[in-house]
Symmetry: C2
């Protein structure tokens, strides 16, 4: 999913319909408690590699469920999947979150 860096945020000028649709899609991906928990585990661990199995045990979900959520987060550009040896680790994409924080700047 490509996002142009918004010149505007909620507080400076109205969003165009395209921008609104794009950000609504990103917020929809975040509108899930399990995904937020996963993100917080990945982000709080900083650069420490964590595989699906470890994440699954941390949030108390099955590995297939965690893989599904991680796929959605990766498709939205919120996490990157990095091959490491025979496993895949996940890291957050700081720029994507910076962009969302900027959109939520109501300028007040």
């Amino acid at each position: 999913m490509e996002h142009r860096d918004p010149q505007c945020c909620l507080g400076t000028s109205p969003l165009t319909p395209d921008e609104a649709a794009c950000y609504a899609g990103l917020f929809r991906v975040l509108a899930d408690p399990a995904r937020l928990e996963l993100l917080s585990h990945i982000a709080a661990e900083g650069c420490r590699p964590m595989g699906v199995g470890e994440l699954a045990s941390l949030v108390g979900l099955s590995q297939p469920t965690v893989s599904h959520h991680l796929k959605k987060l990766a498709e939205a550009g919120l996490v990157d999947r990095v091959a490491q040896g025979r496993s895949t680790i996940h890291v957050v994409v700081p720029e994507a979150f910076a962009r969302l924080r900027r959109v939520l700047d109501v300028g007040l």
Copy 2:
């Protein structure tokens, strides 16, 4: 909806299940293009009072649809409704957006 100010954000320590459910609910309210457009119009106008009719014409939706979205935003604590004479105007709640921006701070 009550939200305790998070001592943590995504980047400092894992969210509890309750925190994750709370913020997922807020992101669900934001996961709608029309609501984001409405918020951006309300926020970009700063303190200028805008009624439902003016907002409806700005986003090209019917007044009942706009009223429905504004009710959801108000229930989530993202906008306040303020009686002004015979009409109701809407203002964003800066603290609610500051809290969401903080949650989206991945600390990287």
